[in-house]
Amino acid sequence: MNPIAQPLVQHGPVAPSVLSDSLQVEGLSKHFKGTEKSVFRDVSFSINEGQSVALIGANGAGKSTLLRCCVRLIEPDSGKVSLSGEDLSSKSGRALKKARNRVGFVFQKHCLVPRLSALTNVLHGNLAHCSGPRNWAQSFARQEDRQRALDCLEQVGLADFAYQRCDQLSGGQSQRVAIARALMQEPRILFADEPTASLDPQSGELVMDLFGRLSRSRNLTVFFVSHHVEHALHYADRILGLRSSELQLDSASHSESAASLREFYA
């Protein structure tokens, strides 16, 4: 049985429906010092709640930088970003961190602590909301948090692996644990930076499938960077394309074809 093919349980708070904009970006620009060209110039778009959006572009087109600039993990030179109507541009220090705590991030590498169990790694997602030893290891955690962490693992189909050390999991399983860790945050929006780049095709499909199902079942906004034209077409509602430092494509995925998207890699 495919471990993921389990009924999804609606879990965690559902974001209020009055907010239709999940992410709003206006006139974002970034130029790294010492380089000739800017990474991107004057990029604007907005993503609705529950939408699944893919960002495509050739290597070095600035996709990952754009993704990071959206939550100011990299500081943009100019422009404005709002998350769920909350302006991030003016925040600093603790307020910025607090704004980030409902943003789940999945990276190309799973970024789990290898010597710790899957359950403990998932529990670490809770560090976004409260600090302290209670969220350091599953053995110190409150019973309800342990249960919630196990539920998150259940949603990615890995509840049976809760007490396995993460260095004993496969690449695809690790990436799913990383997604469970992001779910533990009860995020409003999930960012994924080439989440399937280090996975074999089959595990990659599994991971993308999971994003699609989470987006639908939890009304979760998903914004992912991908090199896979097929993934973008199949799993996203909408596709953004970055080329020559500009956002040159913004359209619904059903109106695009694989051939037209491949031009972005030419």
Binding site: L73, A99, F105, F107, K109, R115, N135, A178
Partner: protein, 274 residues
């Protein structure tokens, strides 16, 4: 420029087996050789004394056997105290090393100045030899095992502080960045990423420093800082070589047991962490 011949293009010409060293390196080598020959005299190397000393060595070794067991009880008690000093000193030293190392490691230190200051303290502590620390503590807190324990604490900080800091710096930055991106606090990241990541190396270093502490606590007694060293010094000074042999044998057993158990423990612990 002449064309390279097609049979022997420039890149395939064999070089001589040996290259003539530059005048500078030859000069430096000659200088080193001279200094080394002078050092032989300075270090008191003398084959004659060695040959003349051989019969003495034979006599001493002869007198060592059979080892005397008449003072077995006080000697074994002193061995126990030696081990206790090493154990307490190492455990406290390891505990104190952790915050020092966190302040000294590039990726966990709150500020470059803090890092520089802590690093300097750790290297200072490490460069002063343990016997010098022992003399210092004997003068400040008096003769006895407490001075020895303090010495081992300081010695352990010098050793573990440095290696723990290096272990923290070698931890994969990925998980820490991932948790930073969701707004977690630095202390949490140290607890869930740096410490678990560095733990195998810390266990290795900690057990190794226990072995090191046992060996050094044997010598500390020579300057009055408690333990078996004092017994050994007394036996040698009173020409009781048979008693000294018993002490040396007891030390050997202690060091052997500690090393054996620490390597067993290392294997068990490394497989268990989760």
């Amino acid at each position: 420029m002449p064309e390279p011949s097609p049979i022997h293009p420039a890149s395939s010409v064999l070089r001589d087996r040996f290259q003539r060293p530059s005048w500078l390196s030859s000069g430096l080598f000659a200088l080193f050789l001279g200094f080394f020959l002078w050092s032989l005299a300075g270090a008191g190397m003398s084959l004659q004394s060695l040959i003349q000393g051989l019969p003495n060595m034979g006599t001493i070794v002869g007198e060592m056997f059979p080892p005397a067991t008449d003072r077995a009880q006080p000697i074994l008690e002193a061995i126990l105290v030696t081990f206790q000093m090493a154990l307490v000193g190492t455990v406290i030293g390891v505990i104190l090393s952790i915050p020092m190392a966190l302040l000294a490691a590039r990726n966990t230190s709150p500020h470059p100045i803090v890092r520089y200051v802590t690093r300097s303290i750790i290297s200072f502590v490490r460069t002063v030899p343990d016997l010098a620390w022992a003399l210092f503590f004997v003068v400040s807190v008096g003769l006895g095992p407490f001075a020895g324990t303090l010495t081992i604490i300081v010695d352990t900080i010098g050793f573990c502080g440095r290696f723990f800091a290096e272990a923290f710096e070698e931890v994969d930055p990925g998980p820490s960045e991932a948790l930073d991106s969701i707004g977690s606090r630095p202390l949490d990241r140290i607890a869930v990423v740096q410490i678990p990541g560095a733990l195998p190396s810390m266990i290795n270093t900690g057990l190794f420093s226990l072995e090191k502490a046992v060996r050094s606590s044997v010598v500390l007694g020579l300057v009055g800082a408690g333990g078996i060293g004092a017994e050994l010094a007394v036996s040698m000074e009173m020409f009781r070589y048979d008693q000294a042999a018993f002490i040396i044998f007891a030390i050997f057993i202690l060091v052997y047991i500690v090393e054996h158990f620490s390597s067993r423990l290392r294997e068990r612990l490394l497989n268990q962490i989760r």
